[in-house]
């Protein structure tokens, strides 16, 4: 009998069970509007989680994405007033790219641990987002732009379509290209990669640039959905994105992960928070809940290993008793 790897398929099983229960129990859950809003919510954080999947597979983390999102959003909304939608989108993407590049250069070329570098940019970029417009919100009125966040094509929300397309592209990059192979190899052993002639610095730097671009896309969706860019948006964004990735079974120690599972985990995460909202769970309790979910996802690896160890030991015992 072929052994089913429970770890790999756990997310999708949990999602199916959760949706099944909620469909049966809660009337307001199964309305089209609610499902649409779950998908929109999943997409806005999920797109950043796609980039984060690359980073975590490489064995690093990026804590600065929430601030980066706020900063890119401010720049985008600021440009939109004066220049129109297309230049504004380009400027937003450029902001994400530059932020990612700064992170990448410091981490890869100066060999500073990623989490502490991105902690520095986390605070700096948030401060810049506040400084940009004197801590005021910038309102977006361009209807074509707002459509990106609120519109839908053939019943499917546009953000979710963007999410799926990006996921497909990134999955191909991760699984089918040399670059993707390098990223996965880096997670297993950076030293081995360096010795075998891979330009590890460039690979690492590129991953952080990719993260920046993904964050910029997330920023477009978040800004378009709220119809404004505010400097205090997405305070726990890094936390949500990391939870999605880890929930999707990507190993924290790097080397292993899948884009598909991140997509499923993003939908699962958004569904859970939607359910908590439907049952009027207090925002603080929600955060505590999400914290516990992340802790559980983190320890999943440990639990698996622990049980594998137990099984091995019991097998040894049976062999000895025979």
């Amino acid at each position: 009998m072929k052994k089913i790897n429970l770890g790999r398929h756990a997310v999708i099983l949990i999602l199916i069970v959760l949706w099944g229960i909620m469909f049966a129990l809660n009337e307001s859950f199964r309305t089209g509007a609610n499902l649409g809003s779950i998908l929109r919510e999943a997409s806005s954080t999920g797109i950043a989680a796609l980039g984060m999947t690359f980073i975590i597979i490489m064995g690093d983390f990026d804590l600065s994405i929430g601030s980066m999102l706020a900063f890119a959003g401010m720049i985008m909304a600021g440009c939109m007033e004066n220049m129109g939608i297309v230049p504004a989108l380009i400027m937003g993407a450029a902001a994400g790219l530059v932020c990612g590049l700064i992170n990448g250069i410091i981490i890869a070329y100066f060999r500073v641990p990623a989490f502490i570098t991105t902690l520095g940019t986390y605070y700096s970029l948030r401060a810049l987002a506040y400084i940009f417009n004197d801590a005021n919100t910038i309102i977006c009125t361009d209807t074509a732009f707002l459509k990106i966040g609120t519109g839908s094509i053939a019943g499917i929300p546009i953000p979710f379509l963007i999410f799926l397309v990006l996921a497909a592209v990134l999955a191909v990059i991760l699984n089918r290209t040399t670059y993707g192979r390098h990223v996965r190899a880096m997670g297993n052993s950076e030293k081995a990669c360096r010795i075998s002639g891979i330009d590890t610095k460039k690979v690492k730097c590129a991953a952080f640039v990719l993260m920046g671009l993904c964050t910029a896309v997330s920023s477009v969706i978040v800004t378009a959905r709220q119809a404004c860019a505010s400097p205090d948006v997405a305070a726990n964004f890094h936390f949500d994105a990391i939870t999605m990735v880890v929930l999707g079974g990507t190993k924290m120690t790097g080397g292993e992960g899948s884009i598909f599972n991140t997509v499923i985990a993003a939908v699962l995460y958004a569904s859970v928070s939607n359910c908590l909202n439907l049952y009027h769970v207090d925002a603080q309790w929600q955060r505590v809940c999400m914290g516990l979910i992340l802790l559980a996802a983190f320890s999943f690896d440990f639990i698996q290993k622990h049980f594998a160890g137990l099984r091995e030991r019991s097998q040894k015992k049976t062999i000895q008793s025979i």
Binding site: F110, I116, Q284, L294, D301
Partner: protein, 320 residues
């Protein structure tokens, strides 16, 4: 010997930066150089310096604690709640007990579940902040009825503000622990090579847990000072405390990857941070620019630290 020399010269140059900055700020705004303001700065120093001493141990052991800002908030709420109902001493006891529990919890998550320190403390950061807000019930807990608490922030002994005495005490104990005891040596050993330490009989997991406990316990002092300053138990304080403390420790020259700490550097760096904050404040610079300044300083300290480590490894390779 050479290492000790380079550490000394680093400390001296850092102290030089403090003096220069202080002079520059004084030229910009003469009010900087008043006794009142200098006392202000020193109290400000004590806030980060004390927690940074504990964090230096954590860095040395090769871990670090993101949850320290949330611990600050939780302790603040706990102290306010207990002090208003049971008195000051039970409040302080409760604060230390809870901090120790948080440290042990962090340590257990990291060592027993095998989760990276910063990821684990990222989780506990969210959880502890959540508990603090839930305990405070979304409002500040007033402390006006308990005047004794005020002494912690604004009391003086022989004319010296109490927070400064507290800082001196914490650093004296930390120095002793860090440089003179077996415990300090073991912590350093775990940070520089955990595997080798385990093989040579050091209980590495215990050392790491101890480092987390030290960080949380020193955060209690900082929290007490902060709480006494505002006379409220606030669940929202310390949002960027982790940034201040991390910046302080790294700026002080402690090696990020573990094994080598610099307590004197940490102390000088906390003075530097406080002078910058106070100088910008007194010159009416918006607080966002302060946050930006600290963030940029952290990034440059990191780059400097990175260059130093690279140069070291190259030297080691050359010397074989």
């Amino acid at each position: 010997m050479k290492q000790k020399l380079s550490r000394q010269s680093e400390n001296i140059s850092l102290a030089g930066v403090v003096v220069v900055l202080f002079i520059v700020f004084t030229i910009l705004q003469p009010n900087m150089m008043t006794v009142f303001n200098i006392k202000n700065i020193l109290v400000q120093v004590s806030l980060t310096a004390i927690a940074a001493a504990g964090m230096t141990f954590a860095y040395t052991a090769g871990v670090f604690d993101m949850s320290i800002g949330s611990v600050l908030a939780l302790i603040s709420v706990v102290v306010a709640k207990v002090a208003t109902t049971a008195g000051v001493f039970p409040a302080i006891l409760a604060a230390f007990a809870i901090a120790a529990a948080v440290g042990i919890l962090n340590g257990l998550i990291v060592t027993k579940l095998g989760i990276q320190a910063f990821a684990a403390t990222l989780v506990s950061m969210i959880l502890i902040r959540g508990i603090a807000v839930l305990m405070a019930d979304g409002a500040d807990v007033p402390l006006y009825s308990v005047n004794a608490i005020k002494f912690i922030s604004s009391g003086t002994i022989l004319g010296i503000p109490f927070p400064i005495i507290l800082t001196a005490l914490v650093y004296a104990v930390s120095y002793f622990l860090y440089y003179k005891t077996e415990f300090g040596m073991k912590i350093r050993s775990v940070g520089s090579n955990a595997d080798a330490s385990r093989i040579s009989g050091i209980r590495t997991q215990r050392m790491i847990t101890a480092a987390f406990i030290l960080t949380a316990v020193t955060a209690v002092f900082s929290s007490l000072i902060k709480t006494a300053q505002v006379m409220f138990g606030k669940a929202t304080i310390g949002e960027d405390f982790a940034l201040d403390v991390m910046t302080t420790v790294i700026l002080g020259g402690t090696v990020i990857t573990g094994g080598k700490g610099n307590l004197t550097g940490t102390l000088i760096a906390s003075v530097l941070i406080a002078v910058i904050k106070n100088g910008l404040n007194i010159n009416n610079v918006n607080s966002y620019y302060q946050q930006l300044a600290i963030g940029v300083i952290l990034i440059f300290a990191l780059i400097f630290n990175g260059i130093k480590t690279m140069r070291n490894t190259r030297q080691i390779r050359r010397e074989g």
